[in-house]
């Protein structure tokens, strides 16, 4: 925001005052505030015109939940000063173009709604708004464009219609007709492969609505249109000023110009509707009916709640307060349920949640604090809804619920009606509900302590108790030579011998040995070190740093040592997954091991037994993510250097080049250096990208092999459950879900080279449902 003449700050304050007073029942009404504000602004309109327009544009972009307040204000000012209205419109159009070029799609959409709503406050003609929306439709029908781009334009039109549909139907029926028809046609032709992949619950496994967002929205708008655009939601402040506004001169909104599409543009991912509650879920707590799960009211409430969250994403307390105020503004609707539904919908959104998980976690805590009488009950209901459907929930969504719920319980002494969940104990080890409970317990253990969580659990949960997270030091006591060596290492550590001393000690004495260091002794060295450093992370880190040279020198000599190191780490800390994660991460950061060693280790057949656990996929995704981040850094460097050198070349073309001075020479040298750096970086990038592709391929092949194994193995021999085909077992479903999880977690990278991947990783024996997942994945960025 601008700072300048003192009045501007007053204006800002005044505007903010209006925002604050909206919805407050005490004091003056919003209409009255608008009246006063209009008079106040009008007096100084000429003097502070540009600043006032800036502020209004800012409100239009960032306060979408107050659209009608500001469109009314602009309408009132326009009725007094025709040119002012025109200038606001012009500003908004140029802001919209700017936002689109910066890929700020949500904000640009807010402006479209605002512009349309100006048709209700007498600033713009309905005819021109109809044409404006038609130009969005035309953009969506341009040929050879990605579907996600076209979806965005269609979605924008649909989102505008609750505001302006009635006006258009009355005053621009022809355009309205065209728009409706075109949207129908668009949806018919549209590819919907991605929908199943983005659903929180497996298709067909639940009665929850989880249809494609655009289709659902379109159906709701259709229903709204059939109901003659009557909704109970939008506070139409301009209707109080009808007599003033209807006499105002109106402007024509120019057509929308879609910015040119380039291949590096990234559009929003498609969405799937998330509905958690049905009327029956809340009837026990509240006599107010929940708006139907495909009604426009439900959709608009969700939108408004999402806006409040967006605006307050950096302040959980303010966010909770505003959400509560919103609930109080709407006493006839069980808004509490809708708030929780929206928050959990965001937490579970695929591929990525819109905010960091920890924000949602702390927001839920704040809400309970502010409304201790009702909201804890709603939360219990939420958790029940999630638990009851856990068996068909996607693994990545279970992970997110585990992370949230363990954090939540750590704030409530791990007290919960655990016995309600006894049924999961008798289920398959790969069933979603048992995995959910087991992982929640594991993470609670990390937040508190082993003893605390065990004490909080009922007796019969012993079946899924975590193991005591102590270091395991397994040495064959009979093997005296081994015991002897271990003692030698122990003593060397106690004497704080330098890294080199250990290197000498580990050198292979066997001349036939192709490896420079004795691999078993290296394993022993690592084991002794981990044992001695086992007390805390600080002890571990200082041991790793002290012996970094030893570790790195040995591990650089062959991949086999890296494997040995990870195997040893696993055998020592098998029962402490947090330790495994943090130490693996540290070793990667210290570049003692590399990403491919970690991936190879996690997907080795020996580790399949851990594939029903969350930690393994966390380590995997972290390692892959780290590599991607490193690549992004190099890409950024290249971009900067390219710009720098191109500018330089341009500069030289402009200058007259025959006079050379000392200064120029140093400049020249610098330029040469930049060019060299650029070349080096490009080579480096190529190496890294090749490495990354190879890594993804190797690991996907390994994963597909494991899944194939699960699909073809017959379970009936093992558990006597009858002839369940492999592909119907919880294990298969779970692993397939993990496969989708990994694809989604690295969507940005994988979509870049997905066509090659398909050729390289799928073979004849690949399970067809895995290929199907992959095809769904590819259509995310169609």
């Amino acid at each position: 925001r601008r700072r300048g003449a003192p009045l501007i700050e007053d204006v800002e304050k005044k505007l903010q005052g209006v925002i604050g007073k909206v919805g407050e029942n005490t004091g003056s009404s919003i209409e009255c505030n608008l009246d006063k504000l209009t008079a106040f602004l009008h007096d100084d309109l000429e003097k502070y015109r540009a600043s006032i327009i800036d502020i209004i544009a800012g409100c239009a972009i960032y306060l979408p939940n107050r659209v009608t307040v500001y469109t009314t204000l602009v309408g009132l000012l326009n009725s007094k000063n025709f040119n002012f209205g025109g200038d606001v419109v012009e500003k908004l159009i140029s802001e919209q173009q700017d936002l689109l070029s910066k890929q700020k799609y949500q904000e640009a959409q807010n402006l479209a709604i605002f512009l349309c709503d100006l048709g209700n406050s007498g600033v713009l003609t309905a005819q021109s708004i109809g044409e404006y929306l038609e130009s969005f439709i035309a953009a969506a029908f341009e040929e050879n464009m990605p579907q996600v781009r076209n979806d965005y334009y269609i979605q924008t039109v649909l989102r505008c219609l609750p505001w302006i549909g009635k006006e258009l139907t009355e005053k621009a029926p022809e355009q309205m007709e065209n728009i409706g028809e075109a949207i129908g046609k668009y949806l018919e032709l549209r590819n919907k492969n991605h929908v199943a992949l983005l659903q929180v619950w497996r298709e067909g496994s639940t009665d929850q609505k989880q249809e494609d967002y655009l289709e659902s929205l379109s159906a709701q708008i259709e229903a709204l249109r059939n109901a003659d655009w009557v909704e109970n939601h939008i506070p139409r402040h301009y209707s109080g000023f009808e007599t003033t506004l209807q006499d105002a001169l109106q402007h024509n909104l120019p057509s929308f110009q879609s910015p040119e599409h380039t291949s590096d543009m990234i559009y929003p991912y498609p969405l799937v509707v998330f509905r958690l509650f049905q009327d029956a879920d809340c009837s026990a707590f509240s006599s107010k009916p929940l708006p139907g799960d495909s009604s426009i009211d439900r959709f608009l409430f969700e939108g408004e709640i999402a806006w409040i969250i967006e605006k307050n994403q950096f302040n959980r307390k303010a966010c909770a307060r505003e959400l509560l105020a919103f609930a109080e503004e709407n006493p006839s609707v069980p808004i509490g349920f809708l708030i929780f539904e929206t928050i959990f919908g965001q937490m579970l959104r695929l591929p990525h949640a819109p905010y960091p998980a920890i924000f949602h976690c702390s927001l839920v805590l704040e809400l309970l604090k502010l409304k201790p009488d009702d909201y804890p009950q709603i939360l219990v209901q939420t958790v029940e809804c999630i638990y009851r459907r856990a068996d068909s929930m996607q693994p990545v969504c279970i992970d997110r619920m585990v992370d949230w719920f363990s954090f939540h319980l750590s704030n409530f002494q791990y007290r919960y009606t655990w016995t309600d969940w006894k049924d999961c104990l008798n289920k398959d080890a790969f069933s979603g509900s048992q995995i959910f409970v087991r992982e929640v317990i594991e993470k609670c253990r990390r937040f508190g302590s082993y003893e605390k969580i065990i004490a909080a659990l009922p007796q019969d949960f012993v079946k899924i108790h975590p193991c005591s997270p102590e270091v395991r030091y397994l040495i064959d006591e009979e093997d005296t030579a081994l015991v002897q060596r271990a003692e030698t290492f122990t003593q060397m550590f106690q004497e704080r011998q330098p890294a080199e001393a250990f290197l000498n000690e580990l050198k292979s004495n066997d001349e036939n040995d192709e490896l420079p260091y004795n691999i078993n002794e290296f394993g022993l060295f690592v084991m002794v070190m981990l044992k001695m450093a086992s007390k805390t992370y600080s002890h571990n880190f200082s041991a790793l740093f002290r012996y970094q040279t030893t570790l790195k020198t040995v591990c650089d000599a062959s991949e086999l040592y890296q494997e040995k190191l990870l195997e040893t780490l696993y055998s020592c800390w098998k029962t402490n997954q947090q330790m495994l994660m943090i130490l693996t991460d540290k070793l990667l950061k210290m570049q003692v091991i590399d990403c491919s060693a970690v991936v190879g280790w996690l997907f080795d057949e020996k580790m399949w037994q851990e594939h029903d656990r969350q930690w393994l996929f966390e380590v995997l995704n972290q390692a892959l993510e780290k590599l991607t981040r490193q690549i992004n850094v190099v890409e950024k460097d290249i971009k900067e250097l390219t710009e720098k050198t191109e500018n330089k070349i341009k500069e030289e073309d402009d200058e007259e080049s025959d006079i050379k001075m000392d200064e120029d020479e140093t400049k020249e040298e610098k330029f040469k250096q930049d060019l060299e750096d650029l070349e080096n970086n490009k080579e480096k990038l190529e190496r890294m990208v090749t490495f990354q592709k190879g890594l993804f391929n190797d690991f996907l092949i390994a994963f597909i092999e494991e899944i194939k194994n699960a699909a073809t193995s017959n379970t009936s021999e093992m558990d006597g459950s009858g002839d369940t085909p492999g592909t119907q077992t919880p294990k298969f479903m779970w692993l397939r879900g993990r496969f989708c999880h990994v694809l989604l977690a690295h969507a940005e990278t994988l979509l870049k080279h997905s066509s090659n991947i398909a050729d390289e990783v799928f073979s004849e024996g690949t399970d067809p449902s895995i290929i199907e997942c992959f095809n769904q994945f590819q259509s995310l960025r169609l």
């Binding site: 960091p356 920890i358 702390s362 508190g448 600080s538």
Partner: protein, 101 residues
């Protein structure tokens, strides 16, 4: 100087966390603060003489953004039944882990 101190606070990736239980261990701090991002290290505050935990620690992140996220969302939540409080710290210097004796 005061100005240096201010600059250090504005660019710091380290949080001072107070009101911890004396029984809270380092790995619990990692678990909780790891929820906001990549933790570089945790330094437990120790009693100057007894060398036992005395209710505070420093949490250092790799990035300022992660530290901000922790400050916004973890400060004033509970760990081991105590409402913990986080604030910016200018950065850990050896010796500062020793609290009041």
């Amino acid at each position: 100087t005061v100005r240096d101190q201010e600059t250090a606070l504005r660019t710091s990736c380290t949080l001072y966390v107070g009101n911890l239980s004396y029984y809270t261990k380092e790995d619990q701090v990692y678990e909780l603060f790891g929820r906001a991002g990549d933790v570089r290290r945790v330094i437990m505050g120790l009693d100057r003489f007894k060398k036992t935990p005395c209710g505070f620690c420093f949490v250092e992140y790799y990035t300022r953004e992660d530290a901000e996220l922790a400050l916004q969302n973890i400060s004033n939540t509970r760990m081991d039944d105590r409402v913990i409080r986080a604030d910016w710290d200018a950065g850990f210097i050896e010796g500062r882990q020793y609290g009041r004796g």
